[in-house]
Symmetry: C2
Subunit: 320 residues, 2 copies
């Protein structure tokens, strides 16, 4: 056990300790700028390029941070999770890093490309029916059999602390940001971003960005209680999940505003980043730029940090 | 006139002077590495990412270098060229840099996206029939009318010296390369790469890479005289042109070997770079990696510099 196991909201000191511990195991991703996008938006944008992170997404940070908070005995029995996306690959990769088994429960209809990538990191995949209930039941069975520890994709302070390190690095590279913006799915990245930003600079404005089609966070912030998505009909496949109690509480305390975007705006922002910045990002990753483009008056003339979350795209099925 | 006009093969000293002069006007592009591609190829690859260059391609270097070798009077009458590709945008962008007019002769069937990009840099476009003869006649008419100076895309020592600076930067960042590889189209980049590499390190092996479908360089090197492509049936749209007397002479004197690749190998290498490195490159740009993948025994265990030439792709028309 290299890091304390976090049972409550991490302090800035704990975020920094966690960053030092995971730093040898992750990439320090570059911060990119783009004259053309600055001109289009009227803001100065600083993109933290987590699409270049190991496994192609920021999820590697949280999974690694969580694994480092386990005892040696826990770790030796392996890591488990249910996911069809980037978190599955991150848990598999973190397990391989520490040379322990990874057990991933994955819905039968998960894209073959994601399945192959997860297998490529040496994980054992257990298929399940594509429902939340089947995922949880199957995961419990796997845990009962193996004794592996479940790494939740976001409702875990250790994972949240890991995701916070993307913003820590961004603010170290660009010390005078006015604003920071990240997409909201389950809220792990968003809540980590909140804690890091206000830990470092209490005056920084922290924005969330969310597809209209899966606006549970927007409605939760409005009603003051956890709301759920009624459908998951968005191309931003990483943002279909609902907030959890832990992530909602942090986001509610820190967020300036949650900005909604349409599906068309997501595709347009994604194409802009591909064609102007020459980098591959996944649809979820385009949501913050879409929000900036939709609300130029909010960001005009300001120095804005944008977390580019990941670059895992099925090149055979692009949304245009 | 900030640089001497080059009438013969540039020396290393002249390449370095040219680099110092253009440096404020171009991006120093990053050198990227990729564990996954090192594993697949068995070599250590260092990618000079000119897809992140201004106008999205290395061509900005040569056009800027050539403009800086003109007298103030020449420059004030503007720059001219015929091109439907990256060189058109580079000449337009260089002209805007020095606040002089750009006159681009472009075949009527040029992709709308390239036409718009060139217009976006403020150039005047003169359409012509899609033949070599029409291009040249129209260009002569434009020159007669305007007095603008023709910047040849490659058969010009000033342009060649500009393209050489990509390798100069790469070797400065990674001083102990064993090999360097670039694609061959008209040969401007390839001959610049030869002069830079052997100027800095006489023992370095310099490789070219070329599609089988447009193998004029391969046949020219074999026969010892300039050969021409009989068709231009390749997805590597930047490599359809033939070598010129100046570029052939330099390549003939320096090249270790010209490696051929099939169309399928180009697509495969392009997909590998997109999916593993998360960056956008154009088909021409994938040709060197395709050559390394086809000839692993040539590069195994070696430190290989790879020039990624550009990232201007029509996202609506991908080759898969």
């Amino acid at each position: 056990m290299l890091l304390p196991y976090l049972n409550s909201e991490p302090t800035l000191q704990q975020l920094l300790e966690g960053h030092a511990a995971i730093a040898p195991h992750i990439h320090r991703t570059p911060v990119l700028t783009c004259e053309a996008l600055n001109k289009i938006t009227g803001a100065k944008l600083f993109f933290k390029a987590e699409n270049f992170q190991k496994v192609g997404a920021f999820k590697m940070r949280g999974a690694t941070r969580a694994a480092l908070a386990l005892t040696q005995e826990q770790l030796s029995r392996g890591l488990a999770t249910h996911s069809s996306g980037n978190h599955a690959q991150a848990v598999a990769r973190a397990a391989r890093l520490f040379e322990v088994p990874a057990y991933i429960v994955m819905p039968e209809n998960a894209p073959e490309v994601k399945r192959q990538a997860t297998l490529g990191y040496g994980a054992r995949i257990t298929p399940c029916a594509p429902t939340i209930e089947a995922r949880q039941t199957t995961l419990e069975e796997v845990q009962a059999e193996t004794g592996a520890t479940f790494i939740h994709p976001f409702d875990d302070y250790n994972v949240i602390a890991g995701q916070a390190t993307a913003s820590l690095e961004l603010m170290e590279t660009v010390p005078d940001l006015d604003d920071i913006i990240a997409p909201i799915g389950g809220g792990g990245l968003m809540s980590g971003t909140c804690l890091a930003a206000h830990g470092v600079a209490t005056g920084m404005r922290v924005f969330g960005a969310e597809p209209e089609a899966v606006d549970d966070a927007w409605r939760s912030l409005k009603s003051g209680t956890l709301e759920r998505n009624e459908s998951t009909n968005t191309i931003a496949d990483g943002l279909k999940t609902n907030l959890s109690p832990k992530t909602f509480a942090i986001i509610q305390a820190h967020l300036q505003e949650d900005l909604l975007v349409t599906e068309g705006q997501i595709v347009e922002a994604m194409q802009l980043i591909w064609s102007r910045m020459k980098i591959i990002i996944e649809p979820s990753c385009a949501v913050p730029l879409a929000a900036i483009l939709r609300n130029p008056e909010v960001f005009e003339g300001r120095r804005v940090g944008v977390i580019l979350t990941g670059g895992n795209v099925d090149l055979q099925n692009l949304p245009w």
